[in-house]
Symmetry: D3
Subunit: 233 residues, 6 copies
């Protein structure tokens, strides 16, 4: 299941479409849109509602027998809680994108949007430890701009990516937002370096974990939670 933490169904469709091209033939991908929350996730406030939506969606997925999950929001909103809720593996698009870029290039750059979300990228870089191999850049566009495709952002993203190749010695580009899958092709052609789209990366990593019969450790950090949610105060 591709979990979109925001309520914009068109974005789920866009993301799902992009994910399908990377998924294996035996994989049945299901898109899920937040039933309630925010229509776009940019701020830390958005992330609070996004995390709640992710948790609800994963629980619904569990009831429906979903095998594995991808959190389709740069910053991996709600990922840790989702791991506690799911029997199967849960992969964030950000961590997947960073690990993928690290398999392809000595150094790389994240191009995200808008600038206020750079800290979300840095947070995952801290968690994964890849900060020494990456820089974070941003274009001045709201996430809402990419709900129905992102080709109109090609120029802005390409300009920032070129700056990363030149000034940061980056050798690959990570697209720092869900819904940018349609940029992969044209950007690869323009830049001639690998362009990593995190949802596709996360889908293949989730397939890989399932193929290895691996799921989240229950030893401590992601052990099943004692409480499932709100109780009367």
């Amino acid at each position: 299941m591709i979990v979109n933490p925001n309520t914009t169904a068109s974005m789920t469709r866009t993301v799902l479409e992009g994910a399908r091209s990377a998924a294996g033939p035996a994989t049945r991908l299901v898109g899920s849109t937040a039933a309630s929350g925010v229509d776009s996730v940019e701020s830390n406030t958005d992330e609070v509602y996004g995390a709640l939506a992710v948790l609800d969606q994963v629980r619904a997925g569990e009831a429906a027998g979903v095998d594995g999950y991808v959190v389709a929001c740069f910053g991996d909103t709600g990922l840790a809680a989702a791991r506690e809720a799911a029997r199967g593996p849960v992969v964030g698009m950000t961590e997947a994108a960073l690990f993928t870029a690290a398999l392809l290039a000595a150094r790389f750059s994240v191009v995200t949007l808008p600038p206020r979300t750079r800290e979300q990228s840095r947070r995952v870089l801290r968690e994964t430890g890849l900060a020494h191999r990456a820089t974070v850049r941003a274009i001045e566009e709201p996430v809402a701009e990419v709900h129905d495709g992102s080709l109109h952002l090609l120029g802005a993203v390409a300009a920032e990516a070129r700056a990363a190749l030149d000034a940061d010695a980056a050798e690959a580009i990570v697209l720092g937002c869900a819904g940018l899958a349609d940029l992969v092709g044209p950007l690869t052609e323009l830049l001639n370096v690998p362009v990593v789209e995190g949802v596709a990366a996360a889908v293949t990593m989730t397939e890989g974990l399932l193929a290895q019969n691996l799921s989240t450790s229950r030893a401590a950090t992601y052990a099943p939670p004692e409480r499932l949610g709100p109780v009367p105060a």
Copy 2:
């Protein structure tokens, strides 16, 4: 305002009482209990509900004209969103405790509970950069155990703290949970090193920020959010 992300009012009272001893005479402390959510915050799932509760409480605080906030939960649940919601400064008890310990000792150790929450401490250590000066230890007790005082945990905490002094070369102890203020005195006496309680530390740091007329930067990461919350899907 001391923001307790869980719904247990007795814990708010305990925490508030501990905080008062450190607060200045001109400071009016208000305790706030989550109106809904979970009665204890330990898991990543709990943190999702805790963050939502923190955000709601800070908004209520804003309506009531609160000047500054302390997030009273080890792990600083909801802190980033709270910063976006509040006009005034917001300080997490974890970051405040770590910075305070760093002012007192070359190395220190966090003694938290239960073991599954160690990752929350490590997360704040990564954010603050103090991991090179600290270790994280835990006792096997649920947070629920400390809702009405924690003196019955003195033996377990003291044993783990002693191990930190001996094996980790720690020179101070950070109490890794709200509601442990009554342990500060006896533990200090037993161990003869500084024992830092994060809520008290955060209260004084919030007072300090207010005295300097400082509040959260609106430049990017904590700029006012465009969306305030759930919209119909």
Copy 3:
């Protein structure tokens, strides 16, 4: 192609067998044994010959139209050169194992063998940046011991893994040697945490990169080399 940097064909068979269980149905796995070099890779000296063998094997693979490669030796011997030689992606079992463990657990431990190879694990931890989430342990057995299966090492590996769970707060175990695939099942049962086998992990990551049409960046570090090998002095 699963590239075994040593000359021991039985080890290639063992490794290939383990890898098949994780590979997708459409993937055709080919094992490759070093035509010359050393019968086991443990020392830094062994790695010199192992890297040469990896390069030769990848070149043969290129001639045969291989799509992607897995370097099946803990330490990822010869990986960087292999990336220059291959049109398609090349994944090391070590980096793949570490990234996989990071998707499953907040902290983990590598159990490798023999102790002299711990530095090879640490080197990949430095490159991947995951040192802050991992420890490295070793049992006192030569790699030669695992050429035809490793079940006789279960006790020793389990003991060291248990020490990692207890003393290092590890929540998953990475097997630090190729040829240990038959330990995954019994060890998982004994320890009740995820046990990651790097070759299987690397196979699924290579499949994933291929599914995304991604290959090594040619921007700088892994650009095609000007020289292909020995010239008369």
Copy 4:
């Protein structure tokens, strides 16, 4: 007591004045000027004499019953020795400024002077661990320039601070020198981000430690010294 490590009494007055605005009503601030040493602290040589002066001043403070100390020199000259000499807490303006900035912004920049002192800032960044969230910049002015106020430096500091906001993604500015308190207001207005003055920050942190009855750990690093000073050779 605000400890000025240099011999320039006018600077002590300037610093003390700036500090008063942040101090609580119950706090009695005392300024102290080095009785001997150097009239400005910039070089490593200056720091040797500055440290000696700090130690002497703290001892005089102890004799006079001072409760807590602030070292008012960017670089925190003599701080470690002062901690051994004082019964109460001792806070450096640099560490206090960095911790304060970290409570307000995801990233920040130190603007210090002159360029040769950047390493002093980096040293405290290494100790506090905040190097991953900060950059260090400098203007080409001697410290002597700020002994009687610093408004004439507003243009130079603002230019460098703006460069930090733009090029380093800084979200707050730390003033990297004592005696710049009069810049806080105009700079905040110009830049619209928090501007942190370390002496004010350190005064409130010292008040906070006192309110918590916390002082330096005597466990090892800051245990009372066996020797109090020069003995005949």
Copy 5:
């Protein structure tokens, strides 16, 4: 013995000449050229052949009673294996250059060539831990350009070095390639900061280790290898 991992004898002569000026009067320097391999080491592929050549040369040196070795290739190709093969100490020109620069300057910059080799410098910076004090820059010239002297590169290297002093706050320059010894003088004059040449640095460090009767630890990582090289497959 100065070990040149490539097959270009003129480069060995150039390097040896540069080394002599730093060596002590009692030191007998011997140059060694790779008997087979590649005529220049730039790519990761080159490093595979270079490492093999280094190992062969060190073994020949052992047979001839050589006391200590310098690996004369930026990136320290084959260093770890050489340490296993030699009774005496082995020093890489890169690690020696970095340690030397660290004794002279708070921050420094490596100017290497061509750009694709920057990762080799970064790898040694990771191993030595000096990444926090250094930047890596490169000029667009192949290593082949320096086989018979490098004065024609003075302009390009000086321009990049000046950029390092200005933009990176570097205070010393490390020449990132063997064979640049003749640049040390003119560059020092132009830049007025220390210019470190790694082969000279490594020669004096090897002399120093010999004077202390120190050689590589045999405890684990560099213990004598069980296998000496290729065996029939």
Copy 6:
């Protein structure tokens, strides 16, 4: 010149004797004892007086035409100021010992004394960046114990060093105090790993810098100071 920051002439003699065995035949070593200050350097307070004494001694050395200096105190007391005062290079015994150990072993451990000085070792590990390859241990003995030789400490040091080899995977030992040169031989025999004595290491590194005509960068951090010392207040 071997600069002993304390006033104990017998320690200078012991240290000088140990240094001679490593120095080259053309090197004329001169020992210097602090004319005033403290008779042993352990605490941060001692370091203040020690730094002052180092600065005075280096100035006397400059007047006498000394070519280079070794600071013979673990923690490298006064090193930065000494670099500003000296025309020639200045090497600290701690940095020299750490770099030397890094040339010999993948990991190593410092065995220092007494425990309160461990932070001095950690400070230099932070500066050199070698913390990821080292641990710091201490025996419970005052520095005064080693003023006339240290063979009586062999048992205690050996026990701690063995613990480092076993528990920390150390492969070499750094002696964490001046005056322990007579332990090198017996300890090497007992442990069978390299034992590094910092004064000897620093002497050979200073010789090496002089042989390369290298001295401290004057670019910024260590530029000549404007002020030479105390002025009337």
